[in-house]
């Protein structure tokens, strides 16, 4: 039952996008998000669309996996679109009682929906083609300069990867404890809210106990292997840029320049 939940939605495939350095993907995603919120004009929109679908195509991830992420923000998207539709001041084109729809509002609503959709699709590509561990690795390396001003970047990255690593283990543990208590007649489904919360105690107490036990064991195991933080620590697979990554950087910069050019010279019709 619980084991069916997939976390970290990595989709294994053999594509150029998968092989990219995680830092490139993080940076590219950031640039793409910025471009989504500063583009102007139909030409830029077409450029953003073409870029997005070209990347999706090269990533070899089935399109339906990307759409999954969209379902989660459907409500948010609807609310944003409605607010834009009804609350943008301007020339009304349709008026119903106190509701009026302006041309600007309609345009904003459509544009906002497109931006949010592209945002989700763009970030999905990153999470679908990068394992959580690669991602934290990339983050750690990109944020390393911050450690100069006293931010424990390595520790944060380590905590992130440990947390990610333990999610499936804790899910399995929850499943096991749930079954064990059900074998003793526990009921997790029926009853009103207060009842349900009370019935969770036999599940939550053992789960917390086991999480603490695991944390203790892990700390002990790390210390036994002489772990003492990031200072002077080397990696088995250090991140290194190769020719492919440089090309990717060039492409993302070129894309960004195209968007900026469109914004300046072809801002029609926005």
């Amino acid at each position: 039952m619980l084991r069916d939940i997939t976390l970290g939605q990595y989709y294994p495939a053999d594509s150029v996008i998968h092989k990219l350095d995680p830092r490139v993907k993080l940076f590219a995603t950031l640039i793409y998000i910025i471009s989504l919120f500063c583009f102007k004009g139909i030409a830029a929109l077409l450029a953003a669309t073409a870029f997005l679908f070209a990347v999706i195509k090269t990533s070899k991830v089935p399109f339906k996996f990307m759409v999954k992420g969209l379902k989660a923000i459907m409500v948010l998207m609807l609310i944003t679109a409605l607010f834009n539709l009804f609350l943008t001041p301007g020339e009304p084109i349709v008026q119903l009682w106190i509701f009026k729809i302006t041309a600007e509002g309609a345009q904003n609503a459509v544009l906002m929906a497109i931006r949010l959709t592209y945002l989700i699709l763009g970030t999905s590509i990153m999470t679908l083609t990068t394992t959580p561990n690669q991602l934290t690795d990339g983050l750690e390396k990109s944020l390393m300069p911050l450690s100069k001003i006293g931010i424990p970047v390595h520790a944060i990255a380590m905590m992130m990867s440990i947390a990610l690593r333990f999610i499936p283990i804790l899910i399995e543990e929850t499943d096991k404890i749930m079954k064990a208590q059900m074998a003793r007649g526990a009921d997790f489904e029926s009853g009103n809210l207060i009842h349900k919360v009370k019935n969770m105690v036999p599940l939550l107490v053992p789960l917390f106990v086991s999480a603490f036990r695991r944390a203790d064991d892990l700390a002990m195991a790390m210390e036994a292997r002489c772990y003492n933080g990031g200072e002077g620590r080397t990696k088995m697979k250090p991140l290194k840029y190769v020719a492919l990554d440089h090309k990717a950087y060039a492409i993302i910069f070129a894309y960004f320049i195209v968007i900026l050019l469109c914004r300046t010279f072809l801002p029609w019709p926005m």
């Binding site: 084991r3 069916d4 543990e173 096991k176 404890i177 079954k179 064990a180 208590q181 059900m182 074998a183 003793r184 007649g185 526990a186 009921d187 105690v201 036999p202 107490v205 053992p206 106990v209 086991s210």
Partner: protein
């Protein structure tokens, strides 16, 4: 009183890339009062199999009959089944949660709808039968030693007075003394109360010593289902699937090869001793231990 499994199939994560067939056409009949051992290497489907027996996991196809009733019927009460088929999971001490041992053991009986007094009575009885010192009853279960915690957890299931008791590797991680205590307790329950016991184990010695029937699982299928001495005759096949026969069986086979006419079917130390005495003291060889009072004779 019996449990019948009819062509049980179970598939994990069906329809995804991670699909695994955990059970494949399993047919079994578990009759009343038997002491059964289930063996198999890791991932052979043992744990999945036993979770079917009290309806925690629903088979992908096939049916289970409890006393002739189909447990997957809409109007079949699964909670009632779980009251009568007690399941002790691996490392059961990880499920303790109450503030006192006594409350934890009463959890099961209370869920059965018994009154506070009755549930308390059951808890007392169960705690006494697992041999926990009485001064500990009102302490936190988290302060106990590993072996004691496990006994409390087993008491938690015993307090529900199941007719069938299933234990998934109850001795894992215990020292030899703790292991014997638990297994002797289970054997005593079986003998005194006549409950059906299903013991999942990795230890061939334990299984040979206590059970009267062995079910060998391999790749989700039942490979052997017979008495210990019949099953351990196939010790070469057992080795191929990552299992083994009891040490005694190997010893007896080696002695036989060296020319001593001993009974190679002996699976426990007591049987082996009897057979050796027969041979060495010039009693009739292969007498099959007629003067033995061990239960699991061949």
């Amino acid at each position: 009183m019996s449990l019948i499994l009819d062509k049980i199939n179970y598939v994990y994560s069906e329809g995804t890339a991670y699909q695994i067939q955990a059970l494949k056409d399993v047919n079994l009949e578990i009759r009343d009062g038997q002491f059964i051992g289930v063996i198999g290497h890791t991932g052979s489907g043992k744990s999945t199999l036993i979770q079917h027996l009290n309806g925690l996991v629903k088979a992908t196809s096939g049916t289970i009959y409890f006393n002739g009733q189909d447990i997957y019927d809409e109007d079949f009460d699964l909670r009632e089944l779980r009251n009568r088929v007690g399941l002790v999971f691996q490392y059961p001490e990880h499920q303790l949660f109450e503030t006192t041992i006594f409350d934890d053991v009463s959890f099961g009986p209370k869920n059965q709808g018994l009154s506070k007094e009755e549930a308390g009575l059951r808890a007392f009885e169960a705690l006494r039968s697992v041999g926990l010192p009485e001064e500990l009853y009102y302490q936190s279960p988290f302060d106990l030693s590993g072996g004691q915690k496990r006994r409390v957890a087993i008491a938690g299931v015993l307090a529900m007075k199941p007719e069938v008791l299933i234990l998934d590797e109850p001795t894992a991680g215990l020292d030899p003394a703790g292991r014997d205590e638990i297994l002797d307790l289970v054997a005593r329950m079986h003998k005194e109360k006549g409950i059906t016991v299903i013991l999942v184990s990795h230890s061939m010695e334990d299984v040979a010593k206590y059970v009267e029937r062995i079910i060998v699982m391999n790749h989700g299928q039942v490979m052997f289902d017979n008495t210990p001495c019949e099953v351990f005759k196939h010790y070469k096949e057992l080795e191929q699937i990552g299992l083994a026969a009891p040490q005694v069986t190997y010893l007896m086979h080696e002695l036989k090869e060296k020319g001593l006419n001993v009974n190679t079917e002996a699976t426990t130390v007591a049987e082996a001793r009897e057979s050796l005495l027969e041979v060495l003291l010039g009693r009739e060889p292969n007498h099959r231990g007629s003067n033995l009072e061990e239960e699991n004779l061949c």
